[in-house]
Symmetry: C2
Subunit: 354 residues, 2 copies
């Protein structure tokens, strides 16, 4: 592929290249060395090892770098160092607001630390997830942040991959890997108790079927109900709006005495679907039916909806995961950490019957 000759962009943003090396049009470390009258070793040291080169020489090198508009070739550096300053983020779908926030946080931390973020969507497909992990190995990534599929999680062994791995959102209790997760059990229990306090008794759960979080949230929900001698009514669903809507509509079609008097959705999409069905059925919250759900998405606060939610510290989750990764990169030997963050119940009108 043909390449236009490289020019520092923008007028005066940075010094122009006065001289160009080789056919590539780019100055190399050799050109810098030559211009500064030193060896390439010295240039390299100025670039990578602070304090290794004495001031007068260092300044000459820095001048040459500036004059030539030199920029190090990352491919060469990586080939030599056998490691790329790249972080992979593998999630099921970046369009999920939860992962969007996480991704943004990870990118912020990565950028501040001179790392690039490669984004990967696994679509809950273990094969695609595997393929992306292999890609990251090929890239010699410095680390990967992964929200694993159920199968991927089951299959995962420490040492499988040549890079440190941090799990987000989904993990097994037992796994000996760095990870940052929500206290799903407590959050779901808290939300369920809140609905119980509001006087609801026939509380149905819309739970995502593909993730450990769905299971853990189900457990918290079931425990809260059990403490009141009530039976759980879980609906295991694809975590999509449509699935939530269809399941809810079906629920609501039951005779009034049997149908649930409240709904708890384990993620934002299911919550949206549930609301859609409830409103389409002409039911009002909180009188006719109570509603609460995970993910405090911005629209839930609209007065016309006023939906009770569990707010997840999404940005914090991503930031913490990235920080764990950085720490692990610095100290590969340290014991695995499990960071558990708390969800916050945001009680709003949709569950305020009492």
């Amino acid at each position: 592929m043909q390449r236009t000759p490289y020019r520092r962009p923008g007028p005066g943003t940075r010094p122009f290249s006065h001289r160009l090396a080789q056919e590539s049009g780019l100055a190399s470390i050799k050109d810098v060395a030559q211009r500064a009258g030193v060896s390439t070793t010295t240039v390299s040291r100025v670039l990578t090892t602070p304090g290794a080169v004495r001031a007068p020489l260092r300044e000459r090198v820095e001048q040459a770098i500036a004059d030539l508009g030199y920029r190090p070739n990352l491919a060469a550096r990586r080939l030599r160092q056998r490691r790329a300053s790249i972080v992979g983020l593998i999630v099921s779908d970046i369009r999920s607001p939860f992962f969007t926030d996480v991704g943004r946080a990870v990118e912020d931390v990565a950028y501040r630390n001179g790392l690039r973020l490669i984004l990967c969507n696994s679509d809950e497909n273990p094969a695609k997830e595997q393929s992306y992990l292999e890609l990251m190995a090929d890239e010699q990534a410095s680390g990967v942040i992964l929200s694993p599929t159920m199968e991927g999680l089951r299959r995962l062994r420490p040492g499988d991959w040549p890079f440190p791995l941090v799990l987000v959102d989904r993990a097994l209790e037992s796994s000996r890997v760095d990870r940052v997760v929500l206290d799903n059990h407590a959050a779901a229990r808290r939300a369920t108790e809140h609905l119980l306090q509001s006087g609801y008794r026939r509380i149905a759960l819309l739970a995502g079927i593909h993730s450990t979080t769905g299971q853990q949230r189900h457990a918290g929900y079931a425990d809260a109900l059990a403490a009141h001698g009530l039976a759980p009514r879980p609906l295991w669903l694809d975590p999509t709006r449509d699935a939530g809507q269809r399941a809810t509509a079906q629920c609501l079609a039951a005779p009034p005495a049997e149908r649930p008097d409240a709904l708890l959705a384990t993620n934002g999409l299911l919550l949206l679907g549930a609301l859609q069905a409830v409103q389409a059925a002409g039911l009002r919250t909180p009188q006719d039916i109570g509603i609460a759900g995970f993910d405090n998405n911005d629209w839930t606060a609209l007065p016309a909806l006023d939906v009770t939610t569990i707010a997840q510290p999404t940005y914090d989750i991503g930031r913490t995961a990235a920080e764990l990764l950085l720490q692990r990169m610095q100290d590969p030997a340290r014991p695995a950490r499990r960071v558990v963050l708390e969800g916050e119940l945001v009680a709003r009108g949709s569950s305020a019957r009492s």
Copy 2:
């Protein structure tokens, strides 16, 4: 940094490495060549040039590759080829649903074509945008998809960068660069005409101040009003929910005869803010005030909101941008293309007064 020895993950997913090369623990092309009894050139050809090596030899090489679990070193390949299979996506903030969708589409296309997606958030900061573009140059990216800041757009010249560039969402009429944009003028005009048809006359516009899209949408809105002899009432705002909410609340505080009878928001966040303020003021749509806005976010369809929107083909925009980039990579000489996609008016209850 210490590295655990590389092992193909998962039992039986792919053949294990039987032999390990050098200290790195990874088989190199040399090991493959040796095992197959050929030169490294032949191995390289098997890897990169289909049909260049005859069947018997090729099969021997492929067997050796499988036996050793060989994977090519991308850094070495890039160093040699002076080009990385990397695509950069630079947007203001991936958390904006518009860019989330675009990003997802770009990643899909990239993955199918063996390209990695590096994600960058510029935060509307021209310096950060510039820094990311330089990063992409350092990465020897194959191409970049950019939603530029206003200043970045003004500064941009063809040939500035050593990679093909495709603009999304924001571009100047004149710029001679591949780009895919919405017909903002037509979309805003259409939405405004729709509000006029519903009988609204004092239509205020909440317009994002940082982007060309805001300006173009303002022009479409103003033209529609002018055709009816009406004066535009633009509010130029930071494109955030809070700004939209504050500005709307202030608007609504005016005496009834002066305050707008309809609001048009030029993006999803401003629309959300406007709704928040309208509902908080106890006003009903469409009776007390009409509402319409850009970005057909999923929550806008909820019966309790039922907001009229302009749906942007967000995924298509991203997909098209990625495809333009691929085509440009194959043919650097071809003339720049400008793809204009149409928004679709989704008329709902919030504007149905007539």
